[in-house]
Symmetry: D2
Subunit: 356 residues, 4 copies
């Protein structure tokens, strides 16, 4: 396949970590290539490899200001890696011009506009488009993704939490309102332009803290997906979700707690999860007795899951680890692109974790 036969991909918002990770992973894709990249402000005009010297010699595409018609005339597919509120403006015209879209932001993840507006404090200006968006978690939504024009790529925390908990909710073995998700993320999750004390190296190095406690915007996204998995959307469940900031660059580990409806041992619960994911290329369920750790997935598209039952309290503890920029963002987005475009789902996503 020559270059011109490859899927022509636009990376809208290429100056952030999600954009750079898309470029890194697409560099190894035999059927797609970055045809166009956008960045705003002073970053427009710069080559991606100027913004990210790690990519020197790998992608020297120059970033442009966003230009709808130019994208429409050049590209077949667009990834959007933008702050929330931006995607809703440009997705409808992109779709109109026949471009398939995978949006890495939040604008099309929540089906209920009222919920979006409550958590994001923003009116939603593309409600009708929202109706056709497909939530892009392939392990739970593969067929709809294949047919979608617009996929909403899941958030980083939700991916880890949903993959861990949805099998238990689907199997109806946990108390629906007992779920607590306690997550920790590396700092790349905050993005590349969020300068301030909160990301200032001397303050983060050696530190650990919780943030947005009780109000993190990924909460309703996790709830929506678990409610979908449960099949009981009439009586929606609610969860408590706490995010913490780890003094590392990459990776998320979520420790999720739930009360078992009936006593079960670790092996039984492990089996429920393992069987659900037995054919999944990117979910590795650990044998009973082994638990995942961030270091074992960094750089890869894997989500590793392990489980332990605390028989004294009849609670199950599910631990899931993923790279927030890969399975939690760009890797999953490419997995969705592969599905949407009829490519082999795992294409360009085979890279093993970089350990140690």
């Amino acid at each position: 396949m020559t270059s011109s036969q490859k899927l022509q991909v636009a990376v809208i918002g290429a100056s952030g970590y999600g954009g750079a990770e898309l470029v890194r992973l697409l560099a190894g894709h035999p059927q797609a290539e970055v045809a166009l990249a956008t960045a705003s402000g002073e970053r427009a005009g710069a080559k991606i490899s100027d913004l990210f010297p790690s990519l020197r010699g790998i992608c020297d595409v120059a970033c442009e200001e966003f230009d709808l018609e130019r994208i429409a005339s050049t590209c077949d597919f667009a990834f959007l890696a933008l702050p929330h509120g931006k995607a809703m403006e440009i997705v409808p015209p992109l779709l109109e011009r026949g471009i398939k879209v995978c949006d890495l932001g939040a604008d099309f993840r929540l089906r209920d506009v009222a919920v979006y507006q409550e958590w994001y404090k923003l009116p939603h200006s593309a409600c009708s488009t929202l109706q056709e968006a497909v939530y892009g978690l392939p392990e739970w939504n593969r067929e709809p993704i294949k047919k979608a024009r617009l996929v909403a790529n899941p958030g980083c925390y939700p991916t880890s939490a949903i993959l861990a908990l949805a099998p238990l909710v689907a199997a109806d073995i946990i108390e629906r309102d007992s779920i607590i998700v306690d997550s920790a993320s590396g700092t790349s999750g905050a993005g590349r332009s969020s300068f301030g004390l909160g990301m200032h190296h001397p303050e983060v190095s050696g530190d650990y803290k919780a943030y947005n406690v009780g109000s993190h915007r990924h909460t309703p996204e996790i709830e929506q997906a678990l409610n979908d998995a449960s099949g009981k959307t009439a009586a929606p469940l609610h969860i408590t979700f706490t995010a913490h900031l780890l003094p590392i660059a990459r990776g998320i580990l979520s420790t999720s707690y739930a009360t078992l409806r009936q006593p079960l041992d670790t092996a039984s619960v492990q089996r429920v999860i393992a069987e659900r994911y037995t054919a999944e290329p990117f979910v590795r369920v650990h044998p009973a007795g082994e638990l995942p750790q961030i270091k074992h997935i960094v750089g890869s598209n894997f989500c590793d899951i392990g489980v332990k039952v605390d028989t004294r309290t009849n609670r199950v503890i599910v631990i899931s680890a993923e790279d927030n920029l890969v399975k939690g963002a760009a890797g999953q987005a490419i997995q969705n692109m592969n599905l949407m475009c009829g490519f082999e789902e795992t294409t360009s996503l085979h890279g093993a974790p970089v350990f140690p």
Copy 2:
């Protein structure tokens, strides 16, 4: 006061991090001094400042093999920083010889011998001595500590969890069996001689993982203290406790969850905790809306506490941060010594956190 009038202190087990921290803090104590230190194996004979070059010029006492009579003839007070199972052998004879003891290990923390044996897989050989041991959490046990000959210094995780949750249990505002404690600790908590993959720098750096899930030995210690605080020991509560390993050297942050018996807002719960600790020199309760972080307490004897109510799920989230080697070990031990010996409680513990 001349040197000879100072309290003569033995540090039994001076080659570990707990021992070194005792030495660091005692170096600034005007009424006590390290008269004798012990270490075993090849470390005996070495000066403390050889084992810990950080202490060069600060404490050049040479470590000796443990010798009961020599300690008895030289010292007034002994800190024990030993692996579990060792203290129970030497505490009774030390007490017999009139030496007051603060044990930083686990042997005298659990009043119920059966519980000790279940969790530590070891028979307890000093059951009668155990009866007189006082659990050394000054904020909840100050008067008994003052009169004690033997104080069991709390574990690092328990200190953070109990200080956070005991006010809520005592005020009876949370569902007793709803407590989940999700903690993260720096690696110094594992000690200085625990070599192996689990503490090998390349494996820990950039990593985060849970360990001893559902079986951590600090679980019954937290339960015992919370049951004491509740005053309802007839129907003991049980908790789920999960420990995680942070890729930093020092500090613990515990995120504790509990269901409120009645709806309360953040300010109300904050008030319950703040009022409980209003006179405490080492517990800093944050105003509603602010949460603690590890970096703000490192090197100090403070435990910082913050709280948030998740009104959607009626759960309270209490976050507590402490330095595992100070308030979680050596600092609290010196606080106990000060109480046991009639010194001002805060002596030598004023050092501000080292930030950033």
Copy 3:
């Protein structure tokens, strides 16, 4: 001594790391206290403990906008922790009003105005005041410091490099133009408000890089002090200095290279350095064969020095470690204050390194 009898100290520029470290260390000073603190912009009005929650309960002084007359009427002594160019404006009027000053910035370090202007790209507006400024490295300038009204506190890198190399230059055992100083610093050296990619946690974590190569402003400061130590200012030496950024918050390690004029072994060179500092309370010269490391001095006012001769190339390698915020900034400033005010030189600086 009651509070009112204590030296009343102003911290001008209390919102940075240097300012906070002054407050931390002064909190333990029996003869001095923070009477006034300044911060500019939105930080004025905030309590120091709001800016630095680590200092909650330790220093709750509210920051004010800079007001010369108020400082003059309230304080006896002022520490200046300001960006370069600012101190030269306010030092002359402070001195006129009888306030002694220790300036932690660069404005009064270089005696030669032309050199200042060349490296700092700024005209010097206080040339006559500059003449009376004393370079505040007590180990090489103790007596002048005692008599000074104005002390220029050394830079962080220079302190480590000068303490390491000055004894060799003074003893005339190295080739004067052979000196290379290769240093690495933690990120707190960049200050608390230098937001940007260069200090963004995801970019610094796991990284190591050189910066300002061949043009770092600490270069002429090191040269000036070494030329002073050599006593041969007619033929000034020049050095190569390279700074690197470590992915840690605190500490500097300098590896300095020089060619020996005559072959000497490690023990001989070690002796030259050790004898020079034998009476110094804050310089710890390691025995031949042992080398310092950052972790052994963090949080303390020590500078540790070790040496090795590479006999194959006839070069000496001197390694020095210090905490950039203590001996490299606030600790040394207080050491200078102690000397200037007739206090015991080590007062409030006894704190042992916080290890690990």
Copy 4:
């Protein structure tokens, strides 16, 4: 090409970081595959993915004890990742059996047996085999590597230092005895079984130190290669080399100093280096004014080089960054395998750096 047509590769010593990295990179190689892996002691029998959970699902080959005949009957090519002294025993019989070898250890790097014995304190038992070994730095030795049966893969530090300095030595623009190499490495360079205080996380985290000063075994290796590049082996040059330990897992940055024979500006020196490497796929020479950093090469086979002339002292400073486990070990080894076996040199080595 079916599996059986692929080059059958043995990884001798698969339980270390070098071995795991070979497996990671070979997993993406279309013309070669891991046919056999060895590990000794209790690790024999374990699957590679048991030893390295990061490789679960990627390589499940079980490790065996070393068995010469089994390797000979199964494999075409062997990588050796063994402690020094071991390879010299097994390389001769492997070669005899027609197996090509790339040795990642030190046994075949130094052509002069006396030098080997002086630095490694070990007699060399395979002197005649040593004569045919080719030093595996493709950028300087490509043609001999293509014809070699035995390639000695360069050390991690030497790769970074030689790539940086050899162009200057070859162009004869620096004083031959003026070279100082000041390097810093992540901790994975120490291997996976080097447990002890030196690699204990609490001691390394937040630290930085020099080690093996004046005696590091990579010194003669750098000297040999630079002497080769200079073409003046009659009067061999000597260097000073200092290694430091960074508190990160991966990456090396070397800051090399040399005195220019004639004054040159940065652009001129940059041109010398850039032109030398213009056709090299894995050496990225930065434009004048830009310098490399570790974070931009982690996970990749790149060595990035930047240069600055310090005109005040007439010294050139060359900075080079590489991943110690990739270009400094396994990546370069596969690059050598590709050359030795007639594959495209860059096969399976295209992976972009994992940033941030």
